[in-house]
Amino acid sequence: MQTALLEMRGITKVYPNGVVANKDVHFSLRAGEIHAIAGENGAGKSTLMKIIFGMEEPSEGEIFIKGEKVRLQSPQDAIDRGIGMVHQHFMLVPSFTVAENMVLGMEPRRGVGINYAEAVRMTEETARKYNLAVNPKAKVEDLTVGMKQKVEILKALLRGAKILILDEPTAVLTPQETEELFRELTQLKEQGHTIVFISHKLKEVKAICDRITIMRSGRSEGVFQTADVTEQEISRLMVGRDVVLKYDKETAPDGGPVLTVEQLNVNDQQGKALLTDISFAVHGGQIVGIAGVEGNGQTQLIEALTGGLTGVSSSGAVKVKGKDILNSSLLDIRQQGVAYIPEDRMRQGAAGEASISDNLISTRYRSKEMNRGLFLNGSKIAALAASLVEEFKVRCSGPAQQIGMLSGGNMQKVVVARECSTGPDLLIAEQPTRGVDIGAAQFIHKKLLELRQAGSAVLLVSADLNEILEISDVLLVMYEGQIVASFEKPSAVSEEELGLYMLGIKRQNERQTGEATEHV
């Protein structure tokens, strides 16, 4: 057995806010292989890569390069040791030419100035050497995404990278560009480079990777020869629940369709399809769950429902109680009786510096009962805030406390309290329990079920299998911007089966998905 080119032993990373991103992870990289790291979002892949690239230091554990123990304290340390990273968000300066981006930080000089001819020559030489054609004099802002990625790869190679880390490189590429990337990566491998390929797309992993390390909830679930494992096995290891939660659900009367989405299509500026022919309905007294690995169109779907689509072209219809709301503002949509729990409570869900009571009335301070003449009705607001804090068991010093001081779970309870207490016709809940403790999560689930009992329609988008399987009445699975499966009894669906759909290994035919969505 050859010695590992890079080895990580017992890596644990705890962030200052208490989130454990990696727990006792072992990872070993052989020279000249393409090694995939697969796992769902939040499984700890990105943190592990940040540690390899010196952007984060591990709380515990050791890193060895060619058997020698190293500490990587900055990206520069990693670059010096021959590690290069291609970030998901490109680290390029748009107004610079390709050559300028290539040499930034290591500019060839002539006197006091930059030797541009030399920069162009260096770019051309590297491009030729690795057979990655780029135009050194083109401006980066004019390049396609695929070309930009090439420049990023070349940047790392020019700096002497022998180990290349690619963070979900295909997420932004068209299928043709992906194929081209794979050809290039295979070539690099033949020239002796070692590649770490982060992805959750199993087909791609199977196509070009030699070995695969699977991660789940911050742990490594093992390393396999890609040829020896089936997609089903990988999917089973990636997707799973640690604890099964159960809820008693009463049946709620069908209140008729509240939200209907018809033939919704969304394309980005380059014409890449983000959503394709999305059709479904959510009825009163029903929770419809949307499962899927992140980045498969859920964000765009939520944006389409909440007036958040920007810089894209869309067609189709999104109706709330029969009124088309596609391209309406969120305020107009909310006035149709829609409530929305956004995914990111720090940036969208709450104003961190404001008090709990200010946050609680932020969606209804315009309403008559909250006002008295020109001013807000302080005593009414205080009473409402006090009762909501009580009802939702928000642990705080009082409604006047700054919301940013609360723990994630309590902050989220405030957001849920605000959205649930208006008696909405439709609640759109996006990852409502992400990053909150189990107690708060169960509390939030109960509130969603109460809302359903009261006749509201609930659309739940979540990556948490527990909540999506247990509290949904109908489950839709999204993959690559399409609804690929639909289940009427989600709690009876096994995680293995769900995993196959989420990772695109299986898909129901149109009749099956159509049947279930028509039932709803």
């Binding site: 970030h87 300066v93 930034l104």
Partner: protein, 312 residues
């Protein structure tokens, strides 16, 4: 109307345009460098004022105008260094830091002036020196061009040279490339080992250096003494010139010249029967109009950028 043309269409007027453009141009070049590094130095006004006083004090105590110039430039760089220290090290908001510098300069210079000369209004009692003006051989004998371009203050010529120097610095040197990368995408700079803080330090120090030259010109060229608040908004006009010049060296130089022309015009029009107060507002009105034109064209450009891909 005729009398207006009589005032403007003279070599004297053209000469005075260059004369009053100098301090604006220096400060605008300084603002340009810090802005390109993504850090807006609104303390230009205060830095110029401190430098103007430093030039007077150092030259009167050393007896040399050149040592005075050195003192002025060092003072400007030092004040910018203090601003950089607070914003980059202690993360003070750059706008608050800049406001503090401006207020400190306005009060502090009067205080120091009073300590040294016993006068709160001007430095008449200090024997400060003035930098020389230069007649350019050959050129000075050419009609029209000679009287306009020759015989200027040495710093006026230096300010023109500075335009080329800054252009070269920003567009042709490694430091310039890094300054621009830090301003446009700091993450990209960081990912290749360029220290964002270090580059922003350099940029702020350079902006202080150029503001220092502008300040020195005010008290050792434009006037031959220091008077309280003598910069009179030129630091602000410079920032406006920089942004109206779209953060390019050439654009900044041209808009500085435009504001200089407005300034010169307000001086020249004082011989006519228009209220002096009204005329004195000219450069500032030009600034506001300039910024509005700039903002409108920027917005249009942005809208076009957003819309065009969807149309396709």
């Amino acid at each position: 109307m005729n009398s207006l043309l009589n005032v403007i269409l003279t070599t004297d007027f053209a000469f005075s345009v260059l004369r009053v453009t100098t301090p604006i141009l220096f400060a605008a070049l300084g603002a340009l460098i810090s802005n390109r590094a993504g850090i807006i130095n609104i303390g230009m006004e205060g830095i110029m004022l401190v430098s103007a006083l430093a030039g007077v004090i150092v030259s009167s105590y050393s007896g040399s105008a050149w040592v005075g110039l050195l003192g002025a430039v060092l003072a400007g760089t030092l004040i910018a260094g203090i601003l950089a220290f607070f914003t980059l090290q202690f993360k003070t908001h750059i706008i608050l830091g800049g406001v503090a510098i401006n207020m400190f300069a306005s009060g502090g210079t009067v205080f120091l002036l009073y300590l040294l000369s016993g006068d709160k209004g001007s430095s008449t009692s200090l024997p400060s020196k003035v930098l020389p003006s230069i007649d350019i051989p050959v050129l000075k004998n050419i009609p029209v061009l000679g009287p306009i371009l020759s015989g200027h203050h040495i710093l006026t010529y230096l300010s023109i040279v500075a335009v080329f120097v800054v252009y070269y610095l920003l567009n042709r040197t490694p430091l310039g490339l890094r300054i621009r990368s830090v301003g446009e995408n700091p993450h990209a700079a960081q990912s290749v080992g360029v220290s964002v803080v270090k580059i922003q330090y350099m940029a702020l120090l350079l902006s202080g250096f150029f503001a220092g030259l502008g300040g020195a010109y005010m008290s050792m060229g434009y006037l031959s003494l220091f008077t309280r608040d003598m910069v009179a908004g030129r630091g602000w006009i410079a920032i406006a010139a920089e942004s109206m010049g779209r953060s390019t060296t050439v654009g900044t130089a041209l808009t500085s010249l435009l504001f200089g022309a407005a300034d010169a015009l307000s001086n020249a029009l004082q011989v006519l029967k228009i209220p002096a107060e009204l005329i004195a507002t000219l450069p500032y009105v030009a600034t506001v109009i300039g910024l509005v034109i700039y903002a409108v064209s920027e917005t249009r450009k942005k809208n076009r950028k957003v819309k065009s891909p969807v149309v396709k």
